[in-house]
């Protein structure tokens, strides 16, 4: 798109992106970064506190927490990406079509949106995963299923605003209609608010995903998932606090990073708003 690339002048954006960058790096380079095999058990060393060998200690089965944390970035980021890829296009399509067509189509689409929005996210996700079985793909579907309405509403609002103004009329005067209009004119107008919402949502998705895996509906052992790690750690939280604290801190950091990115995007995303 013809959008200007502004220099990274926002501290929020820099910091958030840096943290995200670290997580991505960890996910990609996990086999080389992790000091131990994340699923290798060493019962003799179980529940040992942070030492020089095991920087974050070990869990109930003697597995190195740092390594599990590093490998844990993979399912986390994969899930987040999958949910994003599923929910945003659906939401955008529904919202833009509803806003552009108006009338009965709009009422129908927004009615469906409202109904889905009325469901509590985690409950619906639980039900879905409960029916379909646990796993990364199913978790992603479950979360995307309840996540798209927010984008639909945003997209519809932006589309309505465009319709009320002269942008679309001006485009129509030159025969710019249909998909070209929706893709090139309406969609870009939706992007700025989308970006911000998305960044905020990603933080929520991480938490929801952690919640699902905490309840045992994630990818299942022995895959290192942060939520599942917290579940394991919660059993021994009073004596061996590090087992739960480390993945908890990781979730916190990544969520904050996404929030900072959202804040920074608010400044950098729209060329006319400083």
């Amino acid at each position: 798109m013809n959008r200007p690339r502004r220099p990274f002048t926002s501290a929020d954006l820099c910091l958030g992106t840096a943290v995200l960058g670290v997580a991505l790096f960890a996910a990609l380079m996990a086999p080389w970064l992790a000091p131990f095999d994340p699923i290798a058990q060493d019962i003799g060393q179980r529940l040992s506190p942070p030492t020089l060998t095991h920087l974050l200690g070990t869990d109930g089965l003697g597995r190195d927490i740092l390594s599990r944390l590093i490998y844990g970035t993979r399912p986390t980021l994969a899930l987040v990406a999958l949910v994003m890829v599923l929910s945003v296009p659906i939401g955008l399509t529904v919202g833009i079509v509803a806003g552009y067509c108006g009338g009965r189509i709009e009422r129908l689409l927004m009615g469906v949106t409202d109904v889905v929005m009325a469901f509590p996210t985690l409950v619906l996700a639980l039900a879905f995963v409960g029916v379909m079985g646990p796993g990364l793909i199913n978790s992603a579907f479950a979360l995307a299923l309840t996540g798209w309405p927010a984008y639909a509403r945003l997209a519809r609002t932006e589309t309505l605003q465009m319709r009320r103004s002269d942008y679309l009329a001006a485009a129509e005067m030159h025969g710019i209609v249909g998909p070209r209009l929706l893709w090139g004119h309406v969609l870009p107008a939706c992007v700025p608010s989308m970006q911000i919402r998305l960044a905020l949502d990603l933080a929520a998705i991480i938490l929801a995903a952690a919640g699902l895996s905490f309840l045992g509906l994630g990818m299942g052992p022995p895959t290192p998932e942060w939520g599942a790690m917290i579940a394991d750690g919660s059993k021994v939280i009073f004596d061996q606090w590090w087992v739960a604290a480390s993945p908890g801190a990781a979730i916190l950091l990544l969520s904050v990073a996404f929030n900072l990115i959202a804040d920074g995007l608010r400044a950098a995303g729209d060329p006319s708003r400083a």
């Binding site: 220099p7 002048t9 006319s272 400083a274």
Partner: protein, 293 residues
């Protein structure tokens, strides 16, 4: 228009507002940019117009006079005095006390300047409470008095309305009432009629002028329409791209020598100009507008 002061002065005998070398700059990523460049003028108990196009810096100047500019905008002045008080050194608390009671600012669109969720009467009451010690009954009386003074026939009903319920003309009258109820000495009006229909503009301006005259106040009327303000003001200050380029008494406008003033004065279309080219300024083609916050 009974209380018109006699005689027209090029410079007022006693200035209410005295400005010397007022400059406004903005810190941009690539250095500081000067938006208003050393503007100097005085305003007494008279009606002065500040005229210029969008981007000339006139609105920013008005806001600087009221101490409303924040970072990244920076204001500097050799002198900025109101009735002897140095405005450059005022604390936020003192500014709050000044605004509304000594100097008042009325803006273009009343619906954007008023709090949309509070009834109008309540907002007027608040304005009175901030600046004066009056009982609730006294405040109500003052509010009603002021509303009648601005030509609102049903003060009680109008007081119960929300800003968005007031049409343009009514909204502007309410704004005037609010701004004048505490008896300021100077009224700054920034394009007060631009968002109104043609038919209402004269009404609102006449009202403003008559109120200002009656209370022996000063009026600084900001506009891009030279001919409109010339009908109501005694002196005109012309700004172009941040500089004050001409100062003239209104009666001397028709014979103005400065090219920009001449063009502003004669660029109005009408039946007489049919078939001719209107006089225009030759501009710097690369004129760029960076939206200052």
């Amino acid at each position: 228009m009974d209380c018109v002061p006699q005689g027209i002065r090029a410079v007022p005998d006693r200035a209410l507002l005295s400005v010397r070398d007022l400059s406004i700059s903005v810190s941009a990523p690539h250095g500081e940019r000067l938006i208003v460049d050393r503007v100097s003028f005085d305003v007494g108990a008279e009606r002065v117009a500040l005229v210029g196009e969008s981007g000339s810096g006139k609105s920013l100047t008005a806001r600087a006079l009221m101490g409303l500019l924040r970072r990244p905008l920076k204001v500097s002045a050799g002198r900025l005095e109101f009735e002897g008080v140095d405005l450059r050194a005022l604390t936020p608390a003192r500014w709050a006390a000044m605004r509304g009671s000594s100097m008042a600012l009325i803006l273009q669109d009343p619906r954007h300047a008023l709090n949309p969720v509070l009834r109008v009467g309540r907002q007027m009451d608040e304005v009175l409470r901030i600046h004066q010690k009056l009982s609730a009954a006294e405040r109500r009386d003052r509010t009603e008095e002021m509303m009648l003074a601005v030509g609102l026939a049903e003060p009680a009903r109008t007081a119960r309305a929300f800003p968005h319920e007031l049409s343009g003309g009514l909204g502007q009258r309410v704004m005037l009432a609010m701004m004048l109820v505490n008896g300021p000495r100077l009224l700054i009006a920034d394009e007060p009629t631009s968002s109104l229909d043609e038919s209402l503009r004269d009404q609102v301006l006449e009202l403003m002028v008559s109120l200002v005259e009656h209370r022996r106040m000063g009026l600084l009327l900001i506009s891009h329409d030279l001919q409109q303000v010339a009908r109501y003001c005694e002196r005109v200050l012309v700004m172009y791209r941040g500089r004050l380029v001409d100062v003239r008494r209104t009666q001397d406008l028709a014979g103005a020598e400065h090219p920009y003033t001449r063009i502003l004065w004669s660029c109005r279309p009408g039946g007489r100009t049919y078939g001719t080219e209107l006089p225009v300024l030759v501009r710097d083609a690369d004129e760029r507008l960076d939206m200052a916050p």
